[in-house]
Amino acid sequence: MELVNVLVFGLVNSAVLALTAMGFSLTFGLSGVANFAHGGLYLLAGYTSWILANRLNLPFAVSAVLAVILAALLGALIYRLVLMPVRGIVLSEVIATFAVGVAILELFRWMGFVTYEFNLRPFVKGSVEIAGVAVDYQRILIIGIGLVLAAGLWYFTRRTRIGLALRGMAQDEYTALSVGIESDWAAALSLALGAGLAAVAALSILPLGIISINIGYDVLLIALAVTVLGGLESTTGLVAGAFILGYAMTFTSTYLGPQWMEAVYMAAIVLVLAVKPSGLFGKSKELEERV
C-alpha cells in the first residue's frame, strides 16, 4: 500500500518539479542566462493572480491570464534593464537576476503578504482514486499541463519561425546575426517565455497549498537542483532530473519524514556538481560552451 502511494505521488511530485523548473531551463537553453529571478517571478504570478481575483474581483481565468502576461513582460524587462548591460558576464548575470528576485519577494513581504490567508483556487476540485490512492484532480491536471507545455514548446522551437530563430541564436550567435536575427530581441524573448512558464507553473502548483514568500526561494532551489541534476538546457535532462529528484524526495518523506526533503535536493546539487558537473544527462562540454 505504502509503495503504491510512493509510486503515485512520486509521479505527481516529479511532474511538479519538472513544471517548476521548465521556465528556468528554457531560458537557460535559449539564451544562456541563468535567471535567478525565477522564484520571484513564480511568486509574483501567484500573488498577482490572488490580488486580481480577490481584491479586484476579476474572474479566475482572467486573473490567471493577466498574471502570466505580467510575468512575461517583467521577464523581458529584466533582460532590457538589468541583464543587457552585463550580458556575457555570468557572475554579474546571476547576481543581477538574483537581486531582482529577492526584490520582488521582499516587496511582497513588505506589502504584508505574510499571513495564511493567501491561496489560489484550483482549476478543478475533487479527486479520483488511482490504485487505491486518492489523488486530487489538480495534481493530475499538473501532469497534463506539463505534457501540453512540453509538446507546445517542442512545436514552437521546431516548427515556427520565431522558435527556430531562438534555437539558432542559442547555437551560434554570430551566424544568427548574419542571417538577420537580433540577439537582444532573442534574449528578451527567451526571458519572457521562461517567466511566462514560471507563472503557469505557479498558477498550477500553488493551489496545492498556501502561498508564502519562502516558496519563492524554494522554487529557485528546485529549478537549480533539477537542471543541475539533469544537465543544463537539455529537455531529456530536465525530465530525468525531475523524476530522479521527485522520487528521491517522495521516498525520503515517506520513509524518513518530510523534514528530510530539503536535504535531498541540496545533497543532489552538491553531489552532481562534485561528481559530474555537466549533469547526469548533459554532454560534458555543454557548461563551458554555453557559459
Partner: protein, 247 residues
Amino acid sequence: MLEVKNLMVFFENALAVNDLSLEVKKGEIVGVFGSNSAGKTTLMNTIAGLTQHMMHREQRKGGQRITISGEMLFEGEDILRAKPSRRVAKGIVLCRERHPVFKDCSVEENLRLGGYLRKESEIRERIRYAYDLFPPLERLKGKKAGMLSGGEQEMVAIGMALAARPKLLIMDEPLLGLSPAMQSEVVRAVREISRDGVTILLAEQYARPVMPVIDRGYVIENGTLIVSGTGKELLDNPEVRSAYFGV
C-alpha cells in the same frame, strides 16, 4: 553598389583595417586577397555589421575597446552604424569564415533560418534554388547539419546565405579547408550565383583558384591596401604574383 572609404578598425590599439577604401559595383565579383591576419575577416565582418555588434557588446560590459571609422555606403545609404539585421534586410549577406552552420538543426532548418527575414513563399523558392545549386543538399535535408562533412557544411552555409536573398553576397574564405574537387564545385557555384544577378565580394588567401571568376581584386597586408586591379593587373605585379598566386 558598395562603397567603403577610409575604413579604420581598431581592436584596442591594434589596427586591423587601415584606411582602406574599396568599391564593389553591381554585378561584379570582387576578390580581397591577403595572408593570415591581413584583416580580411575584420573587413568582411565590418561590412556585414558583426564588428559593430561586437563593439556594442564590449562597450556595454566594459570589455575590449573596438573603434570603427570611415564611410560605408550601400546603394547610397550610409550603413556604417547599421545593425546587422538592417543590413541583411537591405541585401548584404555574409557567409562567414569556416562556414559555420547551426549544428543541432537539420539542413532544411538551416536553410529556413537563412530566410528568416523573408516571406514564407520566398523562403520556399530560395530553398529550391539552394537544392538546385547543390543537389546533394536535398538528399541531406533531414540530417543534422553538425553531422555533415566539412564540404557539405560549406554547401549548407552558402545555401543559408542565399536563402537570405542577398544582393551583395560576402564570402569569407569559401575555399578554406576544401578538397580540390570541392573547391571547383564552389567556384562553379560562385559563377552561377553571379550569373543569377547577385554581386559577390569574396576573401581568399590565395587568388589562384578564384582567378577565373573574379572581375577585380584587392590585395591587403596588415590591414592596408597594397594593390588593386583586374585579375590580369594583379598577375602582372611580380610581388603580388609570388605572394598570393603561388606562382
